[in-house]
């Protein structure tokens, strides 16, 4: 004993688990430290619901298991849970007003896996409404503030990215040892890049979607946001696994991902897709990318230039597929069986008012687009076309795997921007996901690793993309980048 609270919250998950195992501190102690950090960090607005009592109960149970010598892999690790995950007996809102005070009588498979391994829930994390957004500004619970501030941008509040903005901010600010997140077009990786954290979107089907509020079913994947690559590997190992309740869950054996971190990348062929050099990309990002290439070359990897010719069509295809699926997935929020019910003189009016009042503008916009592109007469021109383009994008990757084992790209085209800066133009906002969305369409694993700072001192991320179910190699390459980049940045505490 004798560690300060701030020392406990500064630990990595890996170090904390070792400390708990060695009984240097208890689960209750490290949980209390995090509860205090969460309370102190309310100005960040990262949590929409704090569950300190539940956290302490879970921590006490962990301590009891540790004392009995029955410790589970994550016993005593305080985590934040994105509010898209339904948590039994704990209000789950998906960042929307329409769910009202919805209290699920069930636990999502992913959180059940984590809690079954002994993890402790600190509370529910803020997010873009229904995970639709890239800046966390569409949340019904208000903006999340990025713990990082730009040296050149005065004291302006920055976005932590989205949609998993609460998850990324909470991890970056040491409010939790790790967090669950989800990624439909970049919602894990872009916030990770904006906050100097690590985030991985695994292969589609690796984590069960059961109990996660659906945005776009064929693209949604859960994954962790963590402080280090190894922490991400530890969390994903617990979160992943076949679930017979999800028809799209992959029936594969999940290996322990942690040992892949630190494995040599010697001889690996790293592809650099030329189409990711987009117009207007900041020089700093261009340079960081080159640094990444050099680091991996130094580590013994072979660099190959590859072509993913349909990259630029990924975003427009995504903005048909995702809204189309969402328009249907969100039809169940109708005020009949749960959630917000508006007033009206007829059934139709009640429907229309419930949904008009319950959904925010971005969600409505996407429902309208999705409804339109599926409607009679437009299906072929939009939806079918997009699904065909999606196939071409997936084929591009298959082609690339002929000559390389992983791909290296920037995660996002910019560093964190100021809140409010890009709200006027939806497309400008959508362009945040230009480098990430391709792997959602193709279902491939991809990770964002913090690799440097921009001129204003804001973190920037590099993305590693792997073949389907090749998370191991992705972690190895991410580990090599992390080591070479020696990223030590931490947001200066201002809250």
């Amino acid at each position: 004993m004798g560690l300060l609270m701030s020392e406990l919250t500064a630990l990595t998950l890996k170090a904390a688990l070792e400390g708990l195992k060695a009984k240097r501190f208890s689960a209750v102690e490290i949980t209390r430290a995090h509860i205090a950090a969460v309370e102190a960090a309310r100005p960040l607005n990262a949590f929409v619901l704090e569950t300190p009592d539940k956290a302490l109960d879970m921590a006490a149970a962990s301590d009891a298991r540790i004392a009995r010598g029955e410790a589970r892999p994550l016993d005593g690790a305080p985590l934040g849970i994105k509010d898209l995950f339904c948590t039994e007996g704990v209000r789950s809102t998906a960042g929307s007003k329409i769910l009202g005070n919805f209290i699920p009588p069930y636990e999502s498979t992913v959180t059940a896996n984590l809690f079954g391994d002994g993890a402790v829930m600190l509370g529910k994390l803020n997010m873009d409404e229904f995970a639709m957004g890239s800046s966390n500004e569409t949340s019904a619970f208000g903006n999340v503030i990025n713990p990082w501030k730009s040296a050149s941008g005065g004291n302006r509040a920055l976005t932590p990215g989205g949609s998993s903005g609460g998850s990324a901010a909470a991890v970056a600010a040491d409010l939790c040892l790790g967090a669950t997140a989800t990624d439909t077009g970049g919602s894990i990786r872009q916030p990770a890049a904006f906050t100097g954290t690590v985030g991985i979107k695994p292969t589609y089907g690796l984590c069960s979607r059961w109990g996660i509020v659906a945005f776009a079913s064929s693209l949604d994947q859960a994954g962790p946001i963590a402080k280090t690559v190894e922490d991400a590997a530890i969390l994903l190992t617990s979160m992943a696994g076949h679930d017979p309740k999800d028809s799209t869950s992959l029936d594969v054996e999940i290996s322990d991902f942690a040992p892949f971190v630190g494995k040599s990348v010697k001889g690996l062929r790293v592809g650099v897709p030329k189409e990711y050099r987009v117009d207007g990309m900041p020089a700093e990002i261009e340079k960081l990318w080159q640094d990444g290439i050099d680091w991996l070359k130094d580590a013994g990897a072979e660099i190959v230039e590859v072509s993913l010719p349909h990259t630029k069509y990924a975003l427009p295809a995504y903005y048909i597929v995702a809204p189309a699926e969402a328009s249907s997935n969100l039809a169940r929020y109708d005020g009949m069986r749960f959630g917000h019910r508006g007033e009206g003189r007829s059934l139709t009016e009640v429907y229309e008012n419930s949904r008009a009042e319950g959904f925010g503008d971005e969600v409505k916009r996407r429902i309208l687009i999705g409804t339109y592109v599926l409607s009679a007469g437009y299906y072929d021109a939009y939806y079918l076309k997009a699904q065909k383009v999606r196939r071409r994008i997936a084929d591009d990757f298959d082609q690339a795997w002929q000559t390389c084992d992983v791909l290296l790209t920037p995660t996002a085209p910019s560093a964190a921007f100021a809140l409010g800066e890009r709200n006027a133009d939806p497309i400008a906002m959508y362009l945040n996901d230009v480098f990430t969305v391709t792997t959602n369409l193709a279902g491939l694993p991809s990770i964002s690793v913090p690799a440097g700072l921009d001129a204003g001192g804001l973190p920037l991320g590099l993305q590693v993309i792997g073949k389907a179910l090749d998370e191991g190699t992705v972690f190895s390459v991410a580990g090599a980048l992390e080591k070479a980049a020696a990223f030590r940045g931490k947001a200066e505490k201002w809250w």
Binding site: M336, F338, I367, I369, A381, K388, A394, I427, L441
Partner: protein, 95 residues
Amino acid sequence: MAIDAATVRKVARLARIAEPEARLESLASELNGILAWIEQLNEVDTNGVEPMTSAVAMAAPLREDVVTDGGDAAKVLANAPKSVDGFFVVPKVVE
């Protein structure tokens, strides 16, 4: 394929979202902006390309025909805005 206010009204009705008349024009122009940007997909030759509906290339798993769920109306109704005697209660449906 430009969207006008009437189209927005129709689509909003299909989606059961009340949109005030005053918003229809601006929504139409927003949606048109997004759709115009999406139009670039037409540059891609997709002749003979099989549409991709899922990122997993497997067949639907099948479950056995056994009763494993249900039998708990209270659980199902717990979050209902209104329920009476085990029923969900909703505004009058006129057929």
